[in-house]
Amino acid sequence: MNKLIGAGDVVAQLRDGMTIGIGGWGPRRKPMALVREILRSPLKDLTIVAYGGADVGMLCAAGKIRKLVFAFVSLDFIPLEPYFRAARQSGALEVMEIDEGLLLLGLRAAAMRVPYIPTRVGLGTDVIKYNPDIRLVDSPYDERQWLAMPALPLDAALLHVDRADARGVCQVKGPDLYMDDAFARAAASTYVSCDELVEPQFFEQGEEARYVFWERAETTGVVHLPCGAHPSSCAPLYGFDVKHFKEYVAGAKEPGGWAQYYERYIACGETEYLQRVGGEAVVKKLPLPVF
């Protein structure tokens, strides 16, 4: 079994108007190299589902998003994502703004193949007001109304992991899986970029198999992309690139800032990108964030 493909092959599987989930959380373990590949492509009108960071910001800046399903978009140490903010304030972005936990429940419902999951989360808030498609339901077991969080099925999920093998066995050694397993299970196709490509025997050693959080049947394709999460982090391999994010955010304040960023870091292709951000050795030394 060989699921190894290139980043271009992933994008070739995607279509205009698809619903695409992106793993990671804010500035952490985002499949940024795959996102850059989308930015270089003519793909458009996407519905993006994400715990958003610069992945969402860049896709907003490039006009790729028709609808965003989100609970937040933030770089954490820089709280406000500038291009997401600009897209929202222009009135051009259609949104489904929901609670962080509701997003997880939507993915879980899709993964379990049920139409909704009942919850108290979101009751009484404007999440209901601005999402008329989210219904309240009666319970067959009590007299209360519950919020019926609809399933969020994905056409595709894009994830980045520490390491994977050609069968699609994926490992996350970092301290937090985020909701990546839920994204993988909610998607018809899951494409995973990995920092390190390993042989199947790797997982037979010691406790390595314990850091595998979804079965290989959930993984459609594996792309070997060292530093593929940069400028987001891939703990414990590297932290996020504070300097790079600051440059990205500063550029957003300038007219033509996105065009310049695109020219310098996206248009050049992935090999040149890695050189321009200092090379693999420099990225691997980026310190892990301290909170």
Partner: protein, 255 residues
């Protein structure tokens, strides 16, 4: 009163929020709430649980900022997914900093403006506020008590629920919502007034009742006697020096 003295007074007052919470997970988002939760664990309630603000439950609060050779005392894993499990079970008390709050205790960190589809100012999004507010206890820290924060009408986007009868879903009661303390740069308030009206609990040194009322976009209930917010003790100050070795709390008012 200097900013440093004021912030220490606020943190000590805020730490009281967790006194009677048993083993709840104490989450403080931002420097002041996190220091307050840390201080609570070292003083009024050692039983509360805390995380390193990333992915681990820790047996003692982790100092803020660069840690040098400090070694975390890990207790369990606590990634974001597990935080939701904890939230939905209700054994948590969070203290967060919203951008707007209204007379019902409804809070907003999502967006500012009259047109939701085209915000005047887009902020973070609702984050975990809807889930937090309908599952567990919540307190709030407001560093700039003003009518811009404590708005006259409802907040622009109700991200966290409050005691608003018009929004209560069928079959639910106000007792299902648990808003505790609201700590600001002027005072400490709660929702213990008549019919869950916001009321004044204590005034920080040098602050008057009139000042608080003028800075609030809705009536604040004033009990017959309003004490001053207590000054920090020598023990509390020593602990704060340990929890904030770089003095990051001194800058929270933008100084």
């Amino acid at each position: 009163m200097t900013d440093t003295t004021l912030v220490d007074t606020i943190i000590c007052a805020a730490s009281e929020a967790w006194r009677n919470d048993g083993e709840a997970l104490a989450t403080g988002i931002g420097i002041v709430p996190r220091l307050a939760a840390s201080l609570a664990k070292l003083t009024c309630n050692p039983n509360i649980m805390m995380t390193d603000s990333e992915a681990w439950m820790v047996a003692e609060p982790v100092p803020i900022g660069p840690r040098g050779d400090y070694v975390m005392r890990r207790e369990s894993h606590m990634g974001f997914g597990r935080i939701f499990d904890n939230v939905w079970g209700g054994k948590r008390h969070a203290m967060v900093g919203p951008t707007q709050m209204d007379r019902y205790g409804q809070a907003n960190i999502s967006m500012i403006g009259a047109d939701y589809r085209k915000p005047k100012v887009q902020m973070l999004g609702v984050r975990g506020f809807p889930g937090n507010s309908f599952n567990h206890a919540n307190s709030f820290f407001i560093p700039n008590h003003s009518t811009k924060v404590f708005v006259e009408g409802e907040v622009d986007m109700v991200a966290s629920v409050g005691y608003n009868p018009a929004r209560l879903a069928r079959g639910w009661r106000f007792d299902d919502i648990d808003i505790r303390l609201v700590i600001t740069n002027l005072c400490v308030m709660d929702f213990g007034g008549p019919d869950r009206q916001v009321q004044l609990r204590s005034l920080h040194p040098g602050v008057t009742v009139e000042q608080v009322q003028q800075a609030t976009g809705f009536p604040v209930h004033v009990p017959a006697a309003v004490p001053g917010t207590p000054a920090p003790t020598a023990e509390q100050l020593a602990l704060l020096a340990r929890l904030d070795p770089h003095g990051l709390r001194a800058g929270i008012f933008g100084a």
